[in-house]
């Protein structure tokens, strides 16, 4: 090696050092800043990640397993504990799990369904009954556009190594980007950070809001009732130990016989104070803005992902059904065109998966005053009646005694 080559290498070594150290320092700053804000994959998908971590515990259950998989509407509208208890009383030993996750559209649900399928297959375990919610609001173009900034970050968290490798080979640019977000950025993509800052700094279009006045006194009452609900929970469940996976939304606290009369009254008062005209009108405007709930312009990619995820559960379930959850018909009204679009997608799901699709949108067991907003059933006031309806509906297939007043759908 002559001296000129040696000197050239020394300069290029410095260039390399500058490039690596500079980017390393910049990335370090980004991570430090995200950590200071509390932004991480855990913060975005905590409930999903906890549920994934709890899969071995679920598989280890001896009873027949029932899983209700879906969106926040399932999260709020299904009480796994009520379901278990009612079926046990009717002679069927089942253990149900609420796999409802807010903000998880079918694209992400599909990835999570694959992880569930892999875990069950590895343990050679089968689910007795899987109910999969088809949420039309989560399947719209508007919803998809709202999630674009988080797709790669979520895929990084939910995809398997093999899937990440496949993406890397099919689209190296995207693959490296996902790996970068997952391994070097703590699952926080630049797009997610921009969205966050844009919102904080008031650069995003304002969320639509009605002109109805805010009732300050009612707001204060609502806060006081919320605090009382928390206090009553602590009183009535003194030994409560939060499990790793959001035990609260498995239905704790929603079994009336476990709660005092005073607590039940607080629940009723709380929802009465919550569901004001302003609350409901603003919520409707928000749902329309963020999910196109009245128009339902479906996104093909999300519909296809939903069909795929049904296929995942079919591989590990004795029986799978797709369910449309109760709809607040006072606020979500479909025109014949919208209804036809929805019917078309439902028919497509039926055709391509071969599963039964149950339309529970309008059922006698659930009325509009059981909703906490325009789409979600209220805890205790809504989830319990709907869960009981499901118990009646599925009791026979789960080997339980059938109640006299069998519901119709």
């Amino acid at each position: 090696m002559n001296s000129s080559t040696s000197s050239s290498r020394s300069i290029f070594a410095r260039v390399l050092l500058v490039t690596v150290l500079g980017m390393g320092a910049a990335l370090g700053l980004v991570r430090a800043y995200a950590a200071a804000l509390g932004a991480s994959g855990e913060a975005f998908l905590g409930r999903v990640l906890q549920a994934r971590a709890a899969l071995p515990q679920i598989i280890a259950e001896e009873d027949d397993l029932v899983i209700f998989y879906g969106s926040s509407m399932v999260q709020a509208g299904f009480s796994a504990r009520v379901f278990d208890r009612e079926l046990t009383e009717r002679g069927a030993e089942v253990k149900a799990f609420n796999f409802g996750f807010g903000g998880l559209n079918p694209l992400f649900q599909d990835y999570f369904a694959r992880r569930i399928r892999e875990t069950f297959e590895a343990e050679d375990r089968e689910i007795k009954l899987t109910l999969i919610e088809f949420n039309p609001f989560q399947t719209t173009k508007t919803r998809y556009e709202g999630a674009v900034s988080s797709i790669d970050a979520y895929v990084g968290m939910l995809a398997s190594r093999q899937e990440l490798r496949d993406i890397l080979f099919e689209d190296p640019t995207r693959g490296v980007r996902i790996l970068n977000i997952h391994h070097l950025r703590d699952d926080v993509s630049a797009e997610m950070a921009t969205f966050y800052f844009g919102d904080e700094m008031g650069f995003l279009p304002p969320v639509p809001e009605s002109d109805l006045p805010e009732d300050e006194a009612n707001q204060e009452r609502l806060e006081a009732l919320g605090e009382r609900m928390g206090e009553k929970f602590d009183e009535e469940y003194p030994d409560y130990e939060p499990a790793a996976w959001n035990w609260g939304w498995q239905g704790a606290g929603t079994i009336p016989s476990e709660r005092s009369e005073e607590t039940l009254q607080i629940f009723e008062d709380y929802y009465a104070a919550l569901t004001t005209d302003k609350h409901m009108t603003d919520d409707k405007l928000w749902r329309q803005y963020s999910a196109d709930v009245s128009n339902l312009d479906f996104e093909e990619e999300l519909v296809a992902a939903f069909i795929r995820l049904v296929g995942e559960f079919q591989q590990i379930s004795e029986h799978v059904e797709v369910v449309l959850l109760p709809r607040n018909t006072e606020w979500i009204v479909y025109t014949p065109e919208v209804q036809a679009r929805l019917d078309g997608v439902v028919q497509r799901i039926r055709d391509e998966t071969g599963v039964t699709v149950r339309d529970f949108q309008v059922i006698d067991a659930v009325s509009n005053d059981m909703f906490s907003d325009t789409t979600h059933l209220g805890r205790y006031i809504g989830d319990v009646p709907f869960t009981r309806f499901l118990v009646d509906h599925y009791a026979e297939s789960l080997g339980a005694r059938v109640a006299d007043d069998e519901p119709t759908s």
Binding site: R9, I11, A13, L16, T19, G22, A26, Y33, A190, E191
Partner: protein, 478 residues
Amino acid sequence: MIFNTPIFYLFFLVFLSVYGLVLGRRRPKVYFIIVSSLVFYGAWNYRFIPLLVGSAVADYFIAQAIGRSTDPGSRKRWLTLSIGINLGILGLFKYADFVLESVGDFLGLFGVAADLPTLAWVLPVGISFYTFQSLSYTIDVYRGDMEPRKGLAEFTAALSFFPQLVAGPILRARQILPQMHDLPVPTWANVKRGALLVTTGVLKKTAADLLAIPVAKAFDSTEPVSLLETWTGVLAFAGQIYGDFAGYTDMAIGLALLLGFQIPLNFNLPYLAVSPIDFWRRWHISLSTWLRDYLYIPLGGSRNGGRFRNVMITMLLGGLWHGAAWTFVVWGAFHGLIISISHSLTKVKGLALFHENPRWWIQTAKWAVTFYLVLLGWVLFRAQSLSDGWAMLGDMHGLGAALPEPSGIAGRVLIFTLVTVAAMHLMDRAVLRGGWTAELPSWLRWSRPVLFWLFLIIGQALCLIIGEPSNEFIYFQF
């Protein structure tokens, strides 16, 4: 493979390691540049690699033939072949459909329904840049401005050199070929300047992506947009196209500097121009000088009273270079017109006060008029169609239908847009002056290196935090 992506960072690290540390001899380095550049290019669409290599091989041998020949007729024929090949490729991929559609539309005006077939071919990325670059070599050799150089590999490496391959600057053969022969080693000063340019480039690109949002609201919205948001959108587009293109070329120049290669700057504070002529001396300098040297001057330049005609032809073709659409043609014609008017005004005795007068208020007035005209031009450039462009120009001046009230965030977005465009120019100024730390007071000079590297790290960190999905570089489509 875009510069500001993780995959390019990996690519560059590998390239730097092999090129700078593993390979010691010149020839393997040149081959490595070719292979790496083709990998870089192939990441978009590997099917177009033969087109790029073919263009290089053809022009290399044509230049050799021109150099060998002493017969003017033969030299001219070889040059014509080179022009035919390069413009033929460009025409086929970029303009064929536009011409066919325009002919169809034209015939339609006379009631002739001509449903002409279109090719609908994908436009090879960077084709307008590398064909012009390659063409400049054969023209320079034909003119005797440079000798044909030996070494096909060097020529191919120069033409495909990845930092400048897909969006320029459009290098002249005489700028890059000697460097590709010598393979210079970067000086530490150049490394620092390169790192600064890469950082300012990525900052500009990041800012441009954010500006895309108000731009889309003004230009793509199906609903009527307020007067304030329309103007903000136009201003934002001025910032977006500048940040996008200047950002890319800053990064290209910076990356080349990190490898030891010198590429001239492509922008010089364009929105501080005080006349349309001045604007084109500052905007996309490599294209405007290319058009000047290889089109305007051969057409006769300003001689024999042909200035207006030659300016118009040059700017029309310059507009067309940007894209195969009537909006670009009209944009080019508009600039040709305002350049010609500017030339004419310099001869009006009554306006002598305004020429070369350094008084601040005269310069400010000239700047304001120029910037306004440039903004009008950008409306035509960005509009989806000429009719959309006219409608927007009307809206901007209150000549269209009544517009709605601005949204609640319109004021904030306008301020953000203005600050962003100004910040881009401040960064340019810093680069032109060798870094802003050079302007620090003497008692703070000790901190120069710390502040310099801190600026780069914080700048890169900012760009890692800010991101907006799906914003490719605008100039890639040209």
